[in-house]
Amino acid sequence: MIQTENLGKRYGRFDAVVGLNLKVAPGQVLALLGPNGAGKTTSMRMIAGFLRPSSGRAVVCGHDVVRDPIAARRALGYLPEGAPSYGELAVAEFLNFAARVRGLTGITGARRMDEMVERLQLQPVLAQTIETLSKGFRRRVCLAQALLHDPPALILDEPTDGLDPNQQREVHALIRGMARDRAIIVSTHALDEVRAACNRVAIVAHGRLRVEGTPAELEKRSRYHHAVSFRAPASALACELLARQPEVETVEVDPVDGRVTVFPRDGGEIFSIVVKLLEEQRVRVEELQLERGRLEDVFRQVTDEASTETPVAA
């Protein structure tokens, strides 16, 4: 369980994070989204115990990160931003160091290390110096360090940054696999990652939590929710007719690929109406889709709203 209560960080007159309330229970993977500089990394650093909060508190598995730092850090696996590691060490040496600091020695330590090396496919580079590795390997080495002690709580700051699509899928599978009995916070800029690995989403902007919910709940806030899109060569007349329907808010045609998107009024269901009208007009449809909503759209909407507000500096 990871919990923050009114967590805040202030640098001089600048509020980096304001009154953040999060609660991530075991089994939940929370995606922390937000533009650069929104306060994601600062929040994660406070929960991990690297930065001291200016206000509020953070609790990891029942341990206050300021009052009981060692117990809180034992319960937490942390992948810092940029996945730092000691470049002059070989991968095995670095993992040995992490294991020793975590008190994982002997057979338990060796077994955990083997497991991590296997799951993150580090076998071929074990004896290699970290500074000679590619970005993808370095990230996985640091990820291995975070997972080594099998922590009940995890904080991963951009775990898939710099990985190729196959490696990303691998990490998503790893996160999903671990999620069952762990509380996990993942920050990311890749919105498809949210669908692939997370079951909750929080969007922060200008240091404040703006929206929180399941991916499906957030998608409902998108204007694409329940919209119908299709591709059809000669559909100009059909589009005009569709736009006149009382249930339809507007019809948009993508100037690049000619894809038509029909937006419902007040999020109503218009799929059958659209299908019926297209049939009546005998429009030859190449592709037809009921949209469930787009996170990109919600993300932009939420962060745009936030930036039109007055700045939060006091």
Partner: protein, 270 residues
């Protein structure tokens, strides 16, 4: 040692040893950092360069500047006399990366979010570096063999000098480590450490004393003079392992390490 079993359900239905129990048994965050640092000295060129330059210049200074043979005395005074100056340059060079590099590369975040207390990290780094310097110092033993071959030196004085030299290296190291935490730049860390070590080395010297006396601050001048590393080292090197001199070095080390812990901890707030 009792193992504590708790039934955390991790899916495999097996009871697991709590991490606390394992940590207690091996008590290792401190050891982990200590061994990693020590290992770092064995694989990085900076550390080997330190050892080689220290040994070469210790020898060169002794024979050329110290006129080891010409003075016709069987002692190691010309050898130890140059140690403060060697340390002045070499210890800040060895210690400049201790925190500056961790800050620059971001590993400080990794280290400080591991279950280790700041003082453990500070002391572990210090001890590893001090041990490394100690090894370099021990490797000067051919010097000791030479004087014993050539004559009958007072080996008690030599032992005291070695202890004094080691303590002084520790003081320089504690100062340099503490200043390294102030910056991300190793170069700045080096120059800062060099300047502060120089000040402490010559605190009793006219070079430092004159300006203070000219300003009319006799008390400050006196206080600073009593902090002179050189004076305390020379006292020990004469063969008198005085309690006060040893305490001075130990307190200097403790003071700078404590300052290091405080600065490290204060940085979390900013």
């Amino acid at each position: 040692m009792l193992f504590v079993f708790e039934n955390h359900d991790h899916g495999d239905g097996m009871p697991r040893m709590t991490s606390e129990a394992v940590v207690e048994k091996h008590g290792s965050p401190f050891r982990g950092v200590f061994l990693r640092e020590l290992h770092g000295y064995l694989i990085t060129p900076v550390a080997w360069l330190f050892a080689v330059i220290f040994l070469l210049s210790a020898g060169a200074f002794t024979f050329y500047l110290g006129a080891f043979f010409e003075r016709g005395q069987a002692d190691l005074d010309p050898f130890f006399r140059f140690h403060p100056w060697l340390y002045l340059v070499l210890v800040p060079a060895l210690a400049m990366r201790l925190w500056a590099e961790e800050r620059r590369s971001g590993t400080l975040e990794l280290l400080l979010t591991m279950p280790i207390r700041p003082w453990q990290a500070v002391v572990a780094k210090f001890l590893a570096a001090w041990l490394y310097i100690g090894c370099a110092l021990v490797l000067t033993f051919p010097m000791w063999l030479t004087v014993n071959y050539l004559g009958h030196p007072d080996n008690g004085v030599i032992l005291a000098s070695y202890i004094g030299s080691f303590l002084m290296a520790g003081a320089f190291l504690a100062i340099s480590e503490c200043l390294s935490v102030l910056t991300r730049s190793q170069v700045i860390a080096f120059i800062l450490a060099l300047a502060v070590c120089f000040l402490f080395l010559l605190a009793g010297d006219p070079l430092v004393q004159q300006p203070l006396l000219a300003l009319g601050s006799n008390r400050v001048a006196d206080a600073l003079a009593s902090l002179s590393l050189m004076a305390h080292f020379e006292a020990i090197a004469r063969g008198v392992l005085d309690f006060g001199d040893v305490t001075y070095f130990v307190l200097t080390i403790v003071f700078w390490l404590a300052a290091n812990v405080l600065i490290l901890d204060a940085r979390r707030g900013g």
